[in-house]
Amino acid sequence: MVTNVLEYLEASERRSPDKTAYADQNGSVTFHEFADRARRLGSCLARRRIVGKPVAVFMDKSVAMIEGFMGAVYSGSFYCPIDVEMPAERIRTILGVLKPAAVLVSENSRERAQALLDGLEGNPAGKEADARPQLIVAEEAYREPAEEKLLGEIRKKALDTDPLYVLFTSGSTGVPKGVLISHRVLINNMEWLEEEYDFGPEDVLGNQVPFYFDVSDHDIYSVMKFGCSMVIIPPELFAFPVRLVEFLNEHRVTAIFWVPFALCMAANLNAFASAVPAYLRYIFFAGEVMPVRQLNYWRRYLPDACYCNMYGPTETYVCTYYNLNREFEDGDSLPIGYACKNMEILVLDEQNHLIRPGEEGEGELCVRGCALSLGYYGDPKRTAERFVQNPLQNAWPETIYRTGDLVRYNAFGELEYLSRKDFQIKHLGYRIELGEIEAAAGAVEGVSACACVYDRGKRMILLIYAGREMSKKEMTAALGSRIPRYMMPNRVIHMEELPRNANGKIDRRKLEELWT
């Protein structure tokens, strides 16, 4: 029984040590080179007593960053990818919650990380000087030897329910939430992929998704599990369709796990007018609703590829999937399908009654199974709100996760996503709580009230505020220190007063009517 993701890596290293595992713009590494560096890094951390603790990985997206992840895992710790592009204030908030034992950097991210740590209010890891997060430079750690015995002892104590990583997602109160994912979650997902599809060493994955987004796990871990290769696609290529297709063909990319937005960009720019990505056979998408019009563009040019719509918030990992097996008209809703192996979907109405396939009505999608996240890092209150006792099970404790997504069964018995119960949106593939933008805008001097609404048709975030009128430039400059670029409102609208409902709350429906 596999209990640790490193077993996948080591098996691939044994099978084909000299085969390319990962590649980026700086070059490529073989399985042996990759695993060797990860072991050296893991040993370096373990020698510094960083075992079973959070390790923040602060690097530009690269193969080195994945080596950093596995280095943390070798030391029996768990990693947290940090988006280096995020505003410093938000990174500091995350580090304040995470309290990392180490911050792993590369030579070229070292100074930025040091400045962030110097600017931390108080000491995130406690008052003792030796409890400060240690700054570990990967290039220096690679020069230290790997200590197989030490790593072996750590592995003996590891359980599959131990955390593998923590990902911070947008939080409605303005403080990002850290979702903890265990080894078991990843292993369960890889076993599902193995049973459902036929990935092999000849496959090449074209990575689009940032590493602080769990969809990228399919790229990273499929390489270890199936012995295939992965190449990071330079992000600017997504704006240049001909170059993107050239890149995919040059690297013989056979499988992609992209956010729908990336697929849409290719379709909107008519990327396949002169050439198609000839080697592609698997097209997976997840993270937001995939518009059928753009999907049909792909299906027209690549009719023989397998298309799979994957669904699941980070807290439940991928919990449903739908392999396209029939035609859809532009404007149709694409099903999110059926539960993945070893997971069960419960559609619960407001009275917690179960809605079954074939029955009418909508309900909240709830999930049970071993692929649930361990909860929110350092936040038992929010964990208890969303990870709750299964209301259909009174005989023993069993946790389900309430996603907040409203769904129904269609005539085929497939699940269909309808909407959110709250103000979370999916924008450009990112999961965003509008409350986080509102909290940032509310802190801008001169803003007396504000609300965000999302124009789904135009894919635009609208910030509507009252108070001192300012230019869009002034507002976005003020927000820039608090929220990442992908959360930045596309339109900033000033009103003398925001409409309110009978309870005195801001009337969002009215704002949507007025501005979207």
């Binding site: 290529l237 704006a239 001909v242 937005f261 909107n268 990327a271 002169s274 430039k473």
Partner: protein, 79 residues
Amino acid sequence: MNYREELLEILQDINSEADYETCQDLIGEEVLTSFEMVMLVAEISQQLGISIPPDQIVPENFRSVDVICELLERLAEEE
């Protein structure tokens, strides 16, 4: 025809933070993300009525405001 002013307006709407007048490498300096580039192509089509063929959507044609203007003028003449 000179599209400079219309183009600057479109760019300001997409990302008001950037200094488009002086920037000579909109892509390399990450002034525009790939999503913003796609928005730009869509807005040029919608607002200026110029459809940019896929083989012309290459970094060399989008380095600066001047270069984009040249592209638009060339395409408008061809049409």
